[in-house]
Amino acid sequence: MRRVLLSLAALGFAVAAAAATPEDRLSAVFEAIEANRVDEALKRVDALLRDYPNFRLAYLVRGDLLLARSRPLLTFGNVVKTVPQDRIEGLREEALARLRAMRSRPSEDRLPRYVLQLHPGQKHVLVVDSRRSRLYVFGNDQGRPRLVADFYVTLGKNGVEKTREGDQKTPIGVYHVTGNLPRSKLTDFYGAGAFPINYPNEWDRRRGRKGHGIWLHGVPAELYSRPPRASDGCLVFANPDLESIGRYVQVGTTPVIIADAIEWSDAASVDAERRSLNAALEQWRADWQGRDTERYLGHYSQRFGAGGGQDYAAWAAHKRAVNAAKSWIKIELSRVAMFRYPREGDFVVVSFEQDYRSSTLSNTVRKRQYWIKEEGRWKILYEGAG
């Protein structure tokens, strides 16, 4: 038995000494198995199940620990009778996902490449690594991300890259939380609550991606957690985890970046990319304010599309006419946030508050732009209200 369970336990990791989560405690069970302290392992799993009687994965481990006293184990989750194999597989995958994630926590100096800049109002950003079935919460440390917590997450039955309604996939992209639905307004299916996100966003629509109703939510009371791939596309968490995540979320503000496998980078590289984007953004602002319309238009990609659906030529002609009519323009940008888009190469979502004043019109809007790199230069591909 030892050998079988060891194949999991050998993933080895230190359990956080702080308030032990059920996952930490499950890890301690595997540590005890690894150290050949099987009695201790059984005691620990029994205690865990007393506190979390719905933690099915823990029952599987308990079954193995007991069965091993009666006969040699052949596999992890050595269920003898004929049962639906996918259920056992789901629990095995959950075990692996949880243990892998705990074992290979990103080190302090590793940052997700996507979070180039948080604006001062964004206290946290949520980044999902689909392959690891893990959501990482980063705090805003003067615009730079700092890992504060991470959670096991269940994603769509059919994986990621949602493209259409009913495909049971989780979208990949940069989103934000758009609402907070408390437990009292939901059925038990959603557990502790739900946080919808803005799928499909402008980019998804432009790519023709369909579907709706992608939420972060909890699980029914009878469950502690679900297997790694079990939802219809939503991001599903253990209820205590969803409650913890809820404490980090600001509706309308908190970004949710869903990646296939997170690209990790270092602070210097992230800083360099942020500086290069900020320089491009500042040049765009300055050229607009200076009413140098040709230089201003040069910041836009030939494939540019504004929210209204005009083509580039029509839109450029319009801009030329508008800018020519003004005797002065003054633009200030604030609360700038920048996120690289997963899976899209050099593609960054930039959002900011734009304070626009001119001889004929003044307004303040929240704007969102998609910047791409064309021939080594950052260009705007899309621009709209943010």
Partner: protein, 311 residues
């Protein structure tokens, strides 16, 4: 779950594996009533068996043999509640006996109370580390508990789950091998005596002498084969252990112990272990089991330092 009768299917399991001699420790105290009760029980005449055992208990209310037998009778009658009471009290009054724990576990398991069964069996083994029946039963209980855990893991309905375990009830209060002994010489090529030159032969001579003393019910000679630092079972004080041994050797009318197929392993010139099949027969019990004696040579004599069931 288990029918009370079901355990008997594998009733004998483990009995012989244990170095068992059915103990009739206080044979004198055991009147005919008890023997009759036992006979009626074997014949399946429970009412008569119960009547006799109650009679015996009237005379000696605390007698463990009689109480144990009554526990078996009421278990067979399906009166689990009273059986649990009887065996529980026995564990309280005689915590050193493994059998009442075992039978308590069998009843708990038959009621589907596997955690309780597990606790009782673990206690039984703690009491008597080489108790094979309890080990086998415990294996079954662990398997059952594992199955329940898997059912919860997989959201299956436990109530109609698969094969029911049949645990073995122990029907006799088997204490220490109380045995009787007559030794059979290992069949060895008869060679002209190599005078005391062969250490293997010296060791065997000691073992055979020990079995012979036992078979002759010669307690003094029997005890003289045990070394001064003999490890008594459970770390019991030597005088108490000797007293029990004397009683057990005195109790049966006759004892015959045979040492069969002995295998000697020498470790250096002063230590050896001998594994053999011990065939024991008395007027009360017949058993056959593997035993290992650890011997040391002291004062020119091979003496027993430890006695173990199995290899």
């Amino acid at each position: 779950m288990h029918k009370p009768a079901a355990p008997y299917a594998r009733l004998r399991r483990g009995l012989t594996a244990l170095c068992a001699a059915a103990l009739c420790s206080a044979l004198a105290a055991r009147g005919d009533d008890l023997q009759d009760a036992s006979k009626f029980l074997k014949a399946g005449q429970h009412a008569q068996a119960l009547e006799r055992v109650n009679k015996a208990l009237k005379a000696k209310p605390r007698d463990p043999q009689a109480r144990f037998l009554k526990g078996i009778i009421v278990t067979e009658q399906g009166n689990s509640k009273e059986a649990i009471e009887i065996f529980t009290r026995l564990t309280q009054d005689y915590p050193e006996l493994p059998e009442p724990y075992n039978n308590l576990a069998v009843i708990y398991a038959s009621q589907g109370q596997y955690e309780k069964a597990r606790a009782a069996l673990e206690q039984s083994i703690r009491t008597h580390p080489s108790y094979a029946t309890a080990y086998e039963n415990l294996g079954d209980v662990y398997a059952k508990l594992a199955s329940q855990a898997y059912d919860k893991a997989l959201q299956l309905d436990s109530s109609n789950s698969g094969a029911k375990n049949k645990l073995s009830l122990v029907r006799e209060l088997v204490r220490e091998p109380t045995v009787v002994a007559v030794v059979k010489e290992p069949s060895k090529p008869k060679e002209p005596a190599k005078p005391a030159a062969d250490p293997n032969a010296e060791v065997l001579k000691a073992v055979n002498g020990w079995a012979e003393a036992w078979s002759k019910k010669d307690a003094n000679a029997y005890l003289s084969y045990y070394a001064g630092d003999f490890k008594t079972p459970g770390g019991e004080a030597r005088p108490a252990w000797e007293k029990t041994r004397r009683e057990r050797i005195a109790a049966p009318k006759s004892i015959e112990v045979k040492v069969d197929s002995p295998k000697v392993t020498l470790r250096g010139s002063n230590e050896a272990s001998v594994t053999f099949r011990q065939d024991y027969r008395s007027d009360k019990l017949t058993s056959s089991n593997t035993k290992t004696l650890e011997l040391v040579k002291a004062d020119g004599r091979w003496q027993i330092r430890e006695e173990k069931a199995g290899r």
